[in-house]
């Protein structure tokens, strides 16, 4: 039992650390990707190729003066970024990072915990995440922050529905709420994206909106709201907000790859490698490869597209994505009925 616990702790800590490091280097990657797409070089003075840039930003933010506006609610002001950061880190608990390792005859899945309602858990935690933004924006007692917070919460609520509906179609197909099982079912190249292309499209659009990334970055869009909900934040509290965004991006990339792109399953590799431990390690790497691709996609889109207007965003969410998601459910049901898969 104690080794079980130890291994779990190791997995939890490493998942935590990895998501932090990935988020940290996403900031660096974002700056580099943006620079490269814009014919620039990007940060290259801090360390070779600017590789120490995130550290510099981190240390700087830690050492910066903290300002809590007199007019704000102190408790909520601090609660905001903490909540954002906490929820961002919590989501990673149910994501299966790999098949599992066999150590000393026991099988340990590479996952913090395999709850059988994993998807519901993800949705639950993600929807708490908006409170971080909302509370922070409201507690700042600044009109720009408040507008940002309002935009964030209405945007999250409207897109969560479409997102949930697009997942329902997937769940109808897979018949389970456990993320690991969904990943397992896609073994051998039967990726869900081939069966649910529309669902995937809706899901990824909603994922952009949920993470507040362009073209849905209304809550913090610079040209209108200065800094949006984090206008009044300085030092590491701001760092938490920015960090949370990148962690969210990492997690949603992980969720997308797991739900629609086969997770850690890797077709054909079984022919060359037989040792199951090695196999699952390679699978994990493969998963990370997919995750990085999706992170790149996030950035790629951000630096290409203009952003929506508030009302257009709502129109897209309620009038286009929502009906599409419902239609998708119907179509999925019909096809399943036609193929006789409904019991």
């Amino acid at each position: 039992m104690s080794t079980y616990l130890l291994i779990k702790i190791i997995i939890i800590v490493s998942v935590f650390l990895i998501s932090l490091v990935v988020a940290m280097y996403s900031t660096y990657a974002e700056r580099k990707v943006a620079a490269f797409m814009q014919d620039r070089l990007g940060p290259n003075r801090a360390g070779p190729f600017g590789i120490l840039q995130p550290m510099a930003d981190g240390v700087k933010m830690f050492m910066k003066e903290e300002i809590i506006p007199n007019v704000s609610n102190k408790f909520l002001f601090i609660l905001g970024p903490s909540l954002a950061m906490m929820t961002a880190c919590m989501t990673s608990a149910v994501i299966p990072w790999g098949k599992g390792l066999t150590i000393g005859g026991n099988f340990y899945p590479i996952q913090a915990t395999d709850v059988n309602i994993g998807i519901l858990y993800i949705f639950g935690v993600v929807s708490i995440g908006v409170y971080g933004i909302m509370i922070g924006g409201w507690a700042s007692n600044n009109k720009y922050s408040l507008l940002g917070a309002l935009r964030a919460s209405s945007q999250m609520i409207s897109y969560e529905i479409a997102m949930g509906l697009s997942i329902i179609a997937l769940i109808m197909m897979t018949g389970t709420l456990s993320v690991r099982e969904i990943a397992e079912q896609q073994a051998g190249g039967h990726w869900n994206v081939f069966y649910q292309p529309f669902g995937f499209l809706i899901f990824i659009i909603c994922a952009f909106a949920e993470t507040n990334r362009a073209p849905f970055d209304l809550p913090e869009c610079e040209t209108e709201l200065v800094g949006g909900y984090h206008t009044e934040y300085s030092s590491m509290k701001l760092g938490f907000y920015l960090f949370a965004e990148y962690i969210n991006m990492f997690i949603s990339s992980a969720v997308i790859s797991t739900l629609y792109f086969g997770g850690y399953n890797m077709p054909f590799i079984g022919r060359f490698v037989t040792d199951p431990n090695w196999l699952s390690m390679i699978g994990t790497m493969f998963l990370f490869g997919k995750i990085f691709f999706f992170i790149f996609l996030f950035m790629w889109i951000r630096w290409t597209l203009p952003r929506f207007r508030y009302d257009q965003l709502m129109n897209l969410g309620w009038k286009i994505l929502l009906p599409l998601a419902i239609a998708n459910i119907f179509v999925t049901g019909m096809v399943m009925w036609w193929m006789g898969k409904l019991s």
Partner: protein, 194 residues
């Protein structure tokens, strides 16, 4: 509103085609462009290491020229100060004493000559106003400073060193250069001007 000229051309088409209505083709098109730039050669000039060539007539830091014998050319006529729209130039004129012929070319010279680099707008009017080939703007950029009072450049910073001449011949017209060549050749029979 009726047309005022017969040259107008309607350029706006606000209607959307179906392909445009579904967002995706335009988005993919845009992504294609940005991806192409991702792998393109970068346009950046890494400034402190790589320096860009300035145009020969670039209007940067001023220089007070010396003549071919090392004497200061400025005769303190005050035209540069007068023509300066920012009024950044201050000078005090003095008479040349005996024995200073090597130092000053004309009988009058500027005993102090200051340019307030923070006032200066680098418009080049002083260079144009100078009738004595004394002041020129060069293609050097003025250094930044931590201190406002440092930015008033006196003669110590403006006059070129006797052994560190600054070549400004690029800025002068070919007629001037031709004229100088002939004159110097005839007068001093040497071409050590710059």
């Amino acid at each position: 509103m009726q047309s005022l000229t017969n040259r107008s051309k309607q350029v706006v088409k606000q209607e959307l085609t179906f392909a445009e209505k579904i967002y995706l083709p335009a988005i993919l098109n845009g992504m294609k462009i940005t991806l192409r730039h991702f792998f393109k050669k970068k346009a950046t000039i890494s400034y402190p290491e790589v320096k860009r060539d300035f145009a020969p007539v670039y209007r940067g830091q001023h220089v007070l020229k010396r003549d071919e014998n090392g004497a200061e050319r400025c005769t303190a006529c005050g035209l540069c100060a007068l023509s300066c729209p920012a009024e950044a130039i201050t000078m005090v004129a003095a008479e040349r004493n005996k024995g200073e012929e090597k130092l000053y070319r004309e009988e009058k010279y500027a005993s102090t000559y200051e340019i307030n680099m923070l006032r200066c707008i680098f418009c080049g009017l002083c260079e144009e106003a100078c009738p004595k080939e004394a002041i020129f703007l060069t293609d050097r950029i003025v250094a930044t400073s931590l201190n406002r009072s440092e930015m008033i450049y006196g003669k110590d910073k403006l006059v070129e060193g006797v052994n560190e001449r600054i070549d400004i011949s690029d800025r002068q017209t070919s007629e001037v250069i031709e004229f100088k060549r002939i004159r110097i050749f005839s007068i001093t029979n040497c071409n050590c001007w710059n």
